[in-house]
Amino acid sequence: MKDMENKDNNFEPRIVAFVCNWCTYAGADLAGTSRIKYAPNVRIVRFPCTGRIDFMLLLKAFGSGADGIIVSGCHPNDCHYTSGNFHARRRWIVFRNLLDFLGIDVNRITFSWVSAAEGAKWADIVNETVDKIRKLGPYTEYRRAKDYTEEAKQYE
């Protein structure tokens, strides 16, 4: 996939945010209704709970052109389903270790807890992530591994 560019031909980060319906999605909604301005680079994908976010979805996002990922849900003890975020936290601790061991850039994934009342925190997290990814540049390193034939066509 072609990297995103702005009108000055500079790199624009493409961020995918996997968020839970009950806290972070509502938080992002609050950021909107409060007219808080934040970077437009993020595409929000809504899930019933952080516990539903499969680790493969993150790899699929990177593979299909995301330069950065945000994973966000309810604060611990605030889960709508009591324990979904605790399960998710374990999964991300293990998964992050594995990605780091494989040499996948874990700095491109932002994990956060954003409650329905934290619209401003959501805006900050998006802005920080976009700034960080802007510095890191497009994640072509990962996409290059996707397919031998694509690699030959696109990069040689």
């Binding site: 790899l59 593979g63 999964r91 991300w92 293990v94 594995l98 040499g103 994990f111 996707k146």
Partner: protein, 261 residues
């Protein structure tokens, strides 16, 4: 304490086992052997060269028949059997374990407690080669680690020997075969190979007993056992040494992390 041949004979005679899974001399290495009658007992061997983790057969119902089954068990077999029992994949009384490291000195273990005490009494010596490789990879920069794994895993031919050799990969329908959605591309390409190994490692998280059967089975000698080994050591660091079972299906509100904002 008795030798393997006598023990096997008595199991056939007194315990009425129908089958003993053990090892026989192969053309180059010992290989797994299904001993179904007393005539075959002299073929059974057990020594340091018996590497295969024959616990992989414990969950293959079509191979075992309906009767009681004996299994010649090295330490790695016993460890895998304990994990399988923890996951309710095998039951007490279904198998008789002939535990030992050498054919001259074996003992019969029938219940979980005796297997556990045998395993506790025989601590495993950490494989220095594996530890060394692990430290070597950990000390690389992230870019080098990526280059290393991309290079290694791009050789993978997706034969799934790692899955077949692992006693704990017993799912009847594997995520690698799920095509709705197609989580993992079925062809061999660097990224889909990596995705397969990420899945394998994640599904092994906290369950892997570190026998290295996946590495030994790999026709391309890819160091894929390091992935599960690394996760095991991280998990015991993060969630405590005594943890057993599937760490990902349980949680502790006191779990610590340092990367959530």
């Amino acid at each position: 304490m008795s030798n393997l041949e006598e023990t096997a004979r008595s199991l056939f005679k007194e315990e009425k086992v129908n089958l003993i899974i053990g090892f026989e001399e192969g053309s180059r290495h010992p290989r797994p052997f299904f001993c179904t009658s007393t005539d075959d007992i002299p073929k059974l061997i057990l020594d340091k060269r018996c590497h295969n983790n024959t616990a992989v057969y414990l969950t293959k119902k079509d191979l075992l028949g309906t009767g009681l089954v004996g299994i010649v068990a090295t330490l790695r077999v016993l460890k895998s059997a304990l994990q399988l029992s923890l996951e309710n994949q095998i039951n007490e009384g279904q198998f008789i374990f002939i535990a030992g490291e050498d054919a001259s000195d074996v003992q019969v273990l029938k219940d979980k407690a005796s297997i556990q005490s045998y395993v506790d009494a025989h601590p495993e010596i950490p494989d220095s080669k594996v530890e060394e490789r692990l430290h070597h990879i950990e000390s690389m920069s992230r870019e080098d680690r990526w280059a290393f794994w991309k290079n290694e895993l791009s050789k993978c031919i997706r034969c799934y020997a790692c899955r077949a050799a692992c006693p704990l990969c017993y799912c009847e329908r594997c995520v690698a075969e799920v095509n709705c959605p197609q989580w993992i591309d079925p062809w061999a390409a660097p990224l889909s190979n990596m995705e397969w190994q990420v899945n394998r490692a994640m599904h092994m998280a906290g369950r892997c007993t570190g026998c290295g059967a996946c590495y030994e089975a790999c026709p391309l000698d890819l160091p894929i056992n390091l992935l599960t080994k690394e996760l095991s050591s991280e998990i015991s660091e993060d969630f405590g040494k005594g943890i057993s079972g599937n760490v990902l299906s349980s949680f502790n509100p006191a779990d610590k992390e340092n990367f959530f904002k």
